[in-house]
């Protein structure tokens, strides 16, 4: 007897379920479904669907606020996973707040990191494509073309054995180029470290208060680690997104001047190198934070709170 009942919009329902506090989810959706069914009868299915969407859009903000307002205790009750992840999520939330409180600093650090990583990735992409990646032959590392141009302009295809030995030594040039690339990143990292050092000094009070309230050194350290991971993820991600653009600019600087330009593209090797670069930058940031924390430790004179391995 019952006809096929029109269903409420699934996407809207899922949005509400995603945003609403876990404890309220079933009640909110249940209420919306109840009124939806009523409206299908009185206003028709399409009007009811429009109403459902309107309700959803108007409800997302208050529901989200409600969820954020719920206290730690309630969040704890709501949390069903590993407590370690709750700490991580708390740390992330706090890291975002710290970032928003100092928008200039966050922007400066991220921008420096983006530029450093984009340029490094781009240079390495070109170096990798032009010089490092093997030619498409088996044992391509053994393929050599050696020629000599004599002073009178005559080209000769042969060369003396001792001369060849000299050229082999010069292959170290490639390594030097790599080192130059690394230096670019180091300079960027240094700048970031400087910026953050100043910031951390300003925060030493915060760390002191936190440890006075019973926050362990490990917990504070983890907080700093989370902050630096967040910053470097932002910087690294944007940097890698920008890298293809910088690569194209680099290639455009040498029209026709670079061999094997067609083979230049960002591949797994480059990506791995960029990731390593990001990790290196991250390590610098983390180290900066930790040292600032120790300096706050030293100033706070609360010897017992400071790790015994350090002279506080």
């Amino acid at each position: 007897m019952t006809a096929e009942r029109p269903a409420s919009p699934a996407l809207a329902r899922r949005l509400v379920a995603l945003v609403a506090p876990r404890a309220e989810r079933a009640f909110v959706i249940g209420d919306m479904e109840e009124e939806f069914a009523e409206r299908v009868r009185t206003h028709g299915a399409s009007a009811a669907r429009r109403w459902y969407w309107k309700q959803t859009m108007a409800s997302l903000t208050p529901l989200a606020r409600m969820r954020l307002r719920s206290t730690d205790r309630e969040r704890g009750r709501e949390w069903r996973g590993d407590p370690m992840w709750r700490d991580v999520i708390d740390d992330l939330r706090y890291a975002v707040r710290v970032g928003r409180r100092n928008p200039l600093l966050s922007a400066a650090v991220t921008a420096t990191m983006v530029l450093g990583i984009a340029v490094t990735t781009a240079v390495f992409t070109v170096v990798n494509g032009v010089l490092l990646r093997p030619l498409p032959f088996p044992h391509s590392e053994r393929v050599v073309r050696i020629g000599v141009i004599l002073r009178n302009g005559v080209q000769s295809n042969g060369m003396a054995w001792p001369d060849l030995q000299d050229y082999k030594r010069d292959q170290g040039m490639l390594v030097l180029l790599g080192a130059a690339v690394a230096a670019v990143l180091l300079i960027a990292s240094g700048n970031i470290a400087n910026l953050l050092l100043g910031h951390s000094q300003a925060r030493s009070r915060e760390f002191a208060v936190r440890s006075a309230l019973g926050g362990s050194q490990g917990r504070i350290r983890r907080q700093l680690l989370t902050e630096s991971v967040l910053l470097s993820l932002a910087g690294g991600g944007l940097g890698m997104a920008l890298a293809p653009l910088v690569t194209r600019m680099l290639i455009a600087l040498y029209p026709g001047g670079l061999p094997r330009v067609g083979e230049v593209h960002i591949d797994a090797t480059v990506l791995a190198a960029a990731l390593a670069a990001t990790a290196a930058a991250r390590a610098v940031v983390a180290a900066t934070g930790a040292s600032a924390m120790d300096s706050s430790c030293r100033r706070s004179r609360s010897r017992s709170r400071c790790s015994s391995r350090r002279v506080c």
């Binding site: 509400v16 609403a20 309220e24 079933a26 009640f27 909110v28 249940g30 209420d31 919306m32 109840e34 009124e35 309107k54 309700q55 108007a58 409800s59 997302l60 903000t61 208050p62 529901l63 606020r65 409600m66 307002r69």
Partner: protein
């Protein structure tokens, strides 16, 4: 008188709706509909729930969950009931409002239409 006893506008509307709907009648759907019909302004279910949660935290109302309806797919509803402090806060806030508006020519009549 502590400052916390005064209610926001929407809090007043929600508490008044619960009072009107009575002990068994007040839950998300009816509260939302009551406010929407009486004030003729759109009310979202999310706003109702957020305000209910805030009022419960202040101790002005308590929730009780109804038994699931005795039909297939029947669900339990989250009902709201006003508490004594809630009733007091509602009275205080509306009284303050009334005193402030008393004698003002705003075209207000008791039980008047908009």
């Amino acid at each position: 008188m502590p400052k916390g006893d005064f209610l926001g506008e929407f809090e007043i509307l929600v508490l008044a709706a619960i009072e009107r709907l009575g002990d068994d009648g007040a839950y998300g759907v009816t509260i939302r509909a009551e406010i929407e019909h009486r004030t003729a302004r759109p009310v979202s279910i999310g706003a109702v729930y957020a305000t209910l949660a805030r009022l419960e935290q202040k101790g002005y109302l308590r929730f009780w969950i109804s038994d699931p309806e005795p039909v297939r797919g029947g669900r339990a509803r989250k009902h709201a009931a006003i508490t004594a402090p809630g009733r007091r806060a509602l009275r205080q806030s509306t009284r303050a409002l009334q005193r402030m508006l008393d004698g003002l020519e705003l075209g207000l009549r008791p039980g008047g239409q908009r």
